[in-house]
């Protein structure tokens, strides 16, 4: 029962929100309650998976492999908890920052439909069902991306829609070929039958098709160009939600598909994945360094962080996967926090342009601390969460003898620190330039609360790194089995 709740709660919240279409206060209350419920359901699911092992549910009571199965191992449960956390913080933050026009056109219900798609993708054990959840998530994200109809949003939206639809077509083709080869759709069943397939080259070709399809969705090198073109256009809470969850669903699907179904082909593909991981890290961070608009800079940096997650898959050892899982938790929270900071900065000084910002260190000491915690955590400074995540990945890399990727990891961390100091210098440290202006000196509490929670969580994740790494290791061992 706990297994279906993370899908059911956002669904019911979304539907209830649509039923009270014209009453925004009710929608807003529903949205927060629903998101809190999702987080609660996620935590309950994590607890039950931890105590009782992998949970499965046969939808409609059709026995596997004929019906659609839902299944949650620790990795899925952790991802659902993260979706709940980001969902709740974004839902609260939206109360203070989404304009009435967007609310009138169903912003809050859409948010929950998106969360439903994300959680469905984390929980399904059926490959075609995964495609359906991807589409649910995509359709909601298309509307959230373009809701408001500003010129930049529509332009970014077209690029986003076109490339994601193409990825979906490739994914669908991959599912079709895989069904033709194995006659199964349940992922565990496919894995069993793939071993007996007589054309191993065909299986590798299918694996690469999935790598490209999910690679576009996860924004891997060289398929990431839609992300910096579109992610900075919607309002800040939407960007925070997208950066926290959407690309991570792509990475989740990659890890799931490659550890569960193509485990035998992983040997051939691993060097390729590692190379892509390194290039993704480097191009993402270099792109970020060249930007002067805060949200664009942060968007480019999402790409660089995706490289770390992929590195865990590329190394393929339990420690590396555990590092990737821990890193996912860290990056989802820290990145969402930084986007929320950019929203508050915009409210304080009316722009995202680093050249026109300044003096926030003097006027907003609390905001400064709340920026520094996730920023330094992303750069990997101890004792924050990023340090332990990177430590696990680096150690796994050294154990596997992949020194090149370890060197790239450390270099990219240094560049991350460099670009965080760039935001620090421009927005916080230097005095307010002449063309800049302070538009507000205070913010509603609903903006501070979620940001405070996320920043506190990056510290907690660092302080409780031991138990959390144990959790990640157990999740990784479940994946490798």
């Amino acid at each position: 029962m706990t297994l279906i709740l993370p899908i059911l709660i956002p669904f019911l919240t979304g539907v209830a929100g649509l039923l009270v279409w014209s009453r925004q206060p009710v929608q807003r209350a529903l949205s927060v309650v629903g998101a809190a419920g999702l987080l609660g359901a996620g935590l309950a699911l994590l607890a039950s998976v931890w105590h009782e092992g992998v949970q499965t549910l046969q939808v409609g009571d059709w026995p596997a492999p004929f019906g659609i199965s839902l299944s949650a191992d620790l990795f899925s449960a952790i991802m659902v908890v993260l979706a709940g956390t980001v969902g709740l913080t974004v839902a609260v933050y939206s109360l203070g920052s989404i304009d009435p026009d967007r609310e009138r056109f169903g912003y809050h219900p859409l948010l929950h439909i998106l969360l439903m798609g994300v959680c469905g993708a984390f929980l399904t054990a059926d490959l075609f069902n995964l495609y359906v959840w991807f589409e649910v998530m995509l359709i909601a994200s298309f509307v959230l991306m373009t809701l408001g109809g500003e010129g930049a949003q529509l332009e970014g939206g077209i690029k986003y829609v076109a490339l994601n639809l193409m990825a979906s077509a490739l994914f669908l083709a991959g599912v079709g070929i895989l069904y033709g080869v194995t006659g199964a759709l349940n992922m565990a069943d496919i894995a069993r039958r793939l071993v007996q397939v007589e054309q191993p080259s065909l299986v590798t070709a299918i694996a690469l098709l999935f790598l490209v399809a999910f690679g576009i969705k996860a924004a891997l090198f060289p398929l990431f160009f839609w992300l910096p073109a579109s992610y900075h256009t919607p309002p800040v809470p939407v960007t925070a939600l997208f950066s926290g969850l959407l690309t991570k669903v792509g990475v989740y699907a990659l890890i799931r598909v490659f550890t569960q179904m193509f485990a035998h082909d992983l040997e051939y593909i691993q060097p390729l994945i590692l190379a892509i991981a390194g290039l993704t890290m480097v191009t993402g961070v270099l792109g970020a360094v060249a930007q002067t608009e805060m949200r664009r800079l942060l968007s480019f940096h999402i790409i660089s962080q995706i490289g770390y997650l992929l590195m865990g898959l590329g190394l393929g050892t339990p420690l590396a996967l555990a590092g990737a899982i821990f890193f996912t938790a860290h990056v989802v929270l820290a990145k969402a926090a930084l986007f929320l900071v950019s929203g508050i900065v915009h409210r304080m000084q009316g722009t995202y342009d680093l050249k026109k910002l300044g003096g926030l260190y003097r006027t907003q000491p609390v905001l400064t601390v709340l920026f520094l915690l996730p920023a330094l955590s992303l750069a990997g400074l101890p004792p924050l969460s990023g340090f332990f995540a990177k430590l696990a990945l680096v150690r796994a890399g050294l154990e596997a003898g992949e020194f090149a990727i370890v060197a790239v990891t450390l270099g990219v961390s240094l560049l991350t620190l460099f670009y965080m100091t760039k935001i620090w210098n421009e927005a916080f440290w230097k005095p307010l330039p002449e063309e800049g202006k302070a538009t507000a000196s205070s913010c509603p509490t609903v903006l501070w609360l979620p940001l405070g929670l996320l920043a506190a969580l990056t510290v907690v994740l660092g302080l409780a790194a031991g138990p959390l790494l144990t959790l990640s290791l157990r999740a990784a061992e479940q994946l490798m089995r």
């Binding site: 373009t146 939206g157 077509a169 079709g176």
Partner: protein, 114 residues
């Protein structure tokens, strides 16, 4: 039949990709639709084509005997068509709105910095 369909699928993929690489917005939408249809036909073909063998269990038997047409790919395609319909409808409206805002059908004009 498989041979014919293989050529049709190949043609659809080629046409779809060609349309995607044009600069016009409308052609982009057509290209995406063609790619979706190509994927659907691919699933249909890979589900093995059999004529006149419905997957029905005769009244005097308890299980299907011999080769029969697999209903699963058709269910998959049906789902994919429905999803594709919704998504393409959204794409077309998006393109219309973008055309009204930017006042151009040329993707090269879509590069204003914000």
């Amino acid at each position: 039949m498989e041979t014919v369909l293989a050529f049709v699928i190949g043609g659809l993929y080629a046409a779809g990709l060609y349309m995607l690489m044009r600069r016009s917005l409308v052609k982009l939408a057509i290209g995406l639709a063609l790619l979706g249809q190509a994927a659907n036909l691919l699933i249909f073909t890979l589900g093995r084509l059999l004529r006149g063998r419905p997957p029905l269990i005769p009244p005097d038997a308890t299980a299907l005997a011999g080769p029969y047409a697999d209903p699963v790919p058709q269910a998959l395609i049906l789902t994919a068509i429905v999803i594709g319909f919704g998504v393409h409808a959204f794409t077309i409206i998006l393109i219309k709105r973008a055309y009204q805002t930017v006042n151009s059908d040329d993707l090269d004009d879509f590069r204003t910095e914000t």
